[in-house]
């Protein structure tokens, strides 16, 4: 049966990030993630989010990123809500829910709302970075690097990644078969449990087949993957420099206070030329490696 393109899986596209060696791609994503974790200033986080989205477009995976942003929107709302309801910090009360028994006074504060929004923004940017990396950094090459450290763990991770769509297709096939029964798919908790058992049983059968394949391919006697010498491309160098710049800017901002932000007890965010400069510099550092599109063909 025909299937459409799967937007959430790695595919070698024509982009500078795809053309970069996996090790550097991972470092670049880690550096971006570290910057997200170090910075709390909403403007800096927004600058990073915009830059990552632009990078996604530059890498040709804008559609996949858009899908993950929709998922992030579903995550963001509960984060903000939970923080507002749970946090007892902040001075500016905007709603009083009264006495909540063991939870104390239900005072909702603007500071808790703002802090929740910042955390949600951080989660959103982290999700965008993770999605970008998973769509544009070769997982096999990444796992190959990890296999040098721990062969079996890395191969298991690789296998899990590979088997997710296969098992998904198995489950879909089984559900389809049930729909073709004359009375339709069985209903009720017991019937659902029976279908689930059949899916698990099918997965175990498949796992056994995969295990047999691995056995005959030498899994039990496996050794460390060899180091694969490869000349450094312009994109490797550009992304490595970008990773270093992003991390340096984040540390500098943190140390200098150019992007300081505190939510409690009351909101304080430093906004000045230094903050704007930091935001621009972060954006440029993220996007610049995508400008050079020479030698990006697979």
């Amino acid at each position: 049966m025909g299937m459409g393109p799967r937007p959430l899986f790695y595919r070698r596209l024509r982009s500078p990030l795809h053309a970069t060696r996996a090790g550097v791609g991972v470092l670049w994503a880690l550096s971006l993630s570290a910057a997200v974790l170090l910075l709390y200033h909403p403007l800096a986080l927004l600058a990073l989010l915009c830059a990552v989205l632009c990078a996604g477009v530059g890498a040709g995976v804008g559609r996949g990123l858009a899908r993950s942003m929709r998922a992030a929107a579903f995550l963001a709302l509960p984060i903000v809500l939970v923080n507002v309801l749970v946090s007892r910090q902040g001075l500016t009360v905007f709603a009083r829910l009264g006495d909540l028994g063991p939870f104390g006074q239900g005072d909702l504060t603007v500071e808790a709302l703002a802090y929740g929004a910042v955390i949600a923004l951080k989660v959103t940017v982290l999700l965008a970075v993770t999605t970008l990396a998973s769509l544009a950094v070769d997982p096999d090459e990444t796992l190959r690097i990890l296999r040098r450290l721990s062969f079996r763990s890395a191969l298991t991770a690789s296998l899990a990644t590979r088997m997710v769509p296969v098992l998904g297709a198995d489950a879909q096939r089984l559900a389809e078969a049930q729909r073709t029964r004359p009375r339709g798919a069985p209903r009720g908790a017991r019937a659902r449990l029976a279908v689930l058992t059949a899916i698990i049983s099918g997965s175990l059968d498949r796992a056994l087949d995969v295990a047999a394949t691995l056995e005959v391919r030498g899994f039990a006697t496996a050794r460390r993957a060899p180091r694969r010498p490869r000349p450094w491309s312009r994109h490797d160098i550009a992304f490595l420099a970008s990773a270093a710049a992003i991390l340096a800017l984040a540390i500098l901002a943190r140390v200098s206070g150019a992007a300081s932000f505190t939510a409690y007890p009351e909101l304080r965010a430093h906004v000045g030329p230094a903050t704007v400069a930091l935001c621009v510099a972060l954006g440029v550092a993220v996007i610049l490696p995508f400008a050079d599109r020479r030698g990006i063909d697979p």
Binding site: G2, M3, E176, P182, S201, V210, A212, V216, G218, P226
Partner: protein
């Protein structure tokens, strides 16, 4: 003679929990450079023998093992499959479970890397095996995007990457279309001839590979029943196990000609020697489409199934079906053929209402029962009796199995149970649609299914079967529809369509060049017999004799 590469001495093996041994007193020697075909009905020990050869039996499966197996001088009791994998490449039936990495390059490299080869050796090994198998263009493709045939080639590449001395293959063509299947067998022959790679291949469709092999090992009840060259094997099969006879051998036996041929080329040469080779049929004069329109005008007013301008388009993806026009009369049997990805399964899903057309319409006069490829997907209960009504089980001949677990049934029984499940109901379905029902089935089980489908068609149910198996299509269908790229490219009588091609044609039709529209050995034998009796009076294009129920056995 050289030392055997694989040697089995008095091998007897019983799976854990089983009462009967799967292999009994097997003695076998395979020498370097041989191309051996492993024949036998389902459940007679072919797969177990292959697993014993690579050490999966007993190391992976457990069970009781006696006797001795050595591969390249290594005793399989002392060396596990990972160690033996350096000498034996293994290819199983399902390509989906044999690809473990995300890209083709990584897949081919894995076996070499895990055996400790250096970076240069890995890179060279990957390039060489990709070039040898013609998959170099796939190297940077993600494995989940490959077609079934491409996946099987990549899996073969992964098995060959370490340059094993023997390749063990367990029904590698069962999930491939005829074109991809023939390509794979051709590839094995080339590996064998050019690099002296030893091949041990288990296969049900013997006609596909018999002409390529040097030796056939036939298994019955876990023991080796015959071990000889292809011609002697066919003689043995004719006497002892007719279900293993190829259509060509059956054709010769019925026509009273000896010895049986191993393939089409040999059969044609022998018929020519006997002066019994009919003239090849000429291509049809009228374009099939016009003939179909004419047929449709005269067909019954109320079709069992009608697709009108049916399109299936994937959002931001390709069109899988492109304006399909198809009409099935009640009681009509239609074989739907075409390469993998041609749109056959999608069309059947539309017929059963599992998919909605993006354009066009599908109309049915009643319920459409759809039997999907894997019968096991229907089983969700622990008892056969819980899966379908007693009446349906009785009709399928499974009443005696009501207390058994569905997963313990044989291949043929599983298929019958799945058919009972989808056709169970207050009233019989108007249309019975089957998606690749003979995948992995031996000839005897196929014959049983063909009989059942013909019985159902005789009761007025329209039957539509997506299949890659021209022999099965010829045995069941009176009409054949060829799909390519989501379009109907040919639609006509089975005799017309399955007699006039290379790939989508039966072996009998290929031997006789489509003469007389003969598809089955019985029809072909009648044609040859007539020619032997009166060669001058034989007109090309004479009507084939009617198919008797025995003809499909």
């Amino acid at each position: 003679m050289s030392e055997p590469l694989l040697r089995m001495q008095e091998l007897t093996y019983t799976y854990p929990g089983a009462q009967q041994p799967a292999l009994a007193h097997v003695n076998l020697e395979i020498h370097p450079g041989e191309f051996c075909l492993l024949a036998g009905l389902s459940g007679h020990g072919k797969s177990t023998l292959l697993r014993a050869a690579c050490g999966l039996v007993p190391h992976f499966h457990g069970g009781r093992f006696s006797g001795r197996v050595t591969l390249a001088g290594l005793d399989t009791r002392e060396h596990g499959p990972s160690r033996l994998g350096a000498f034996a490449g293994v290819l199983f039936q399902d390509p989906e479970t044999q690809l473990v990495m995300g890209s083709v390059r990584a897949e081919l490299a894995l076996a070499l890397e895990s055996r400790g080869h250096g970076a240069t050796a890995v890179a060279r090994g990957v390039e060489e095996v990709a070039l040898a198998l013609g998959i170099d263009a796939l190297l940077d493709r993600p494995t989940h995007e490959l077609s079934g045939g491409e996946k099987q080639r990549v899996a073969l590449g992964a098995a060959l990457a370490g340059r094993p001395r023997i390749v063990l293959l367990d029904e590698p063509t069962s999930q491939l279309d005829p074109v991809a299947g023939d390509e794979l067998i051709g590839l094995l022959r080339r590996l064998n001839q050019e690099w002296e790679t030893t091949i041990l291949l288990a296969e049900h469709r013997l006609e596909r590979c018999l002409s390529a092999c040097d030796r056939v090992i036939a298994m019955q009840h876990g023991a080796i029943a015959s071990d000889s060259d292809p011609e002697a094997f066919l003689e043995w099969a004719g006497r002892s196990e007719p279900a293993l006879q190829t259509p060509a051998a059956k054709l010769f036996a019925l026509a009273g000609l000896h010895p049986a041929p191993a393939g089409v080329r040999q059969a044609r040469a022998r018929l020519r020697t006997h002066g019994a080779l009919p003239e090849e049929a000429q291509p049809a004069v009228a374009p099939p489409k016009r003939r179909e329109r004419r047929r449709r005008r005269t067909a019954a007013a109320a079709p069992a199934l009608e697709c009108r301008g049916l399109w299936h388009e994937i959002p931001r993806g390709p069109a899988i079906l492109r304006g399909i026009e198809l009409r099935l009369a009640p009681g009509e049997s239609v074989a739907l053929m075409g390469r993998n990805g041609a749109g056959k399964s999608t069309l059947l899903r539309h017929a059963a209402g599992l998919l909605q057309p993006t354009r066009g319409s599908v109309r049915c006069s009643g319920r459409v029962a759809l039997l999907l490829q894997n019968p096991g997907d229907y089983f969700i209960h622990e008892r056969v009796g819980a899966e379908a009504s007693p009446a349906a089980l009785a009709a399928a001949g499974l009443s005696a199995r009501a207390e058994r677990n569905p997963r313990d049934l044989s291949g043929g029984e599983r298929q019958r149970l799945a058919l009972a499940i989808v056709t169970d109901g207050a009233s019989p379905p108007a249309v019975l649609a089957l998606d690749e029902p003979t995948r992995g089935m031996d000839r005897s089980a196929k014959a049983g299914l063909a009989l059942e489908l013909r019985r159902r068609a005789a009761t007025g149910q329209a039957v539509i079967i997506a299949t890659h198996d021209p022999e099965f299509a010829a045995a069941v269908a009176e009409r054949a529809v060829l799909l390519a790229d989501g379009r109907v490219i040919a639609d006509g009588s089975a005799a017309e369509l399955l007699a006039g091609g290379w790939y989508f044609a039966t072996e009998t039709a290929r031997i006789l060049g489509g003469a007389g529209g003969a598809l089955l050995p019985e029809q072909g034998a009648a044609l040859i017999a007539g020619r032997l009796a009166a060669p001058a009076a034989e007109p090309a294009g004479q009507a084939p004799p009617a198919i008797s129920p025995e003809a499909i056995r």
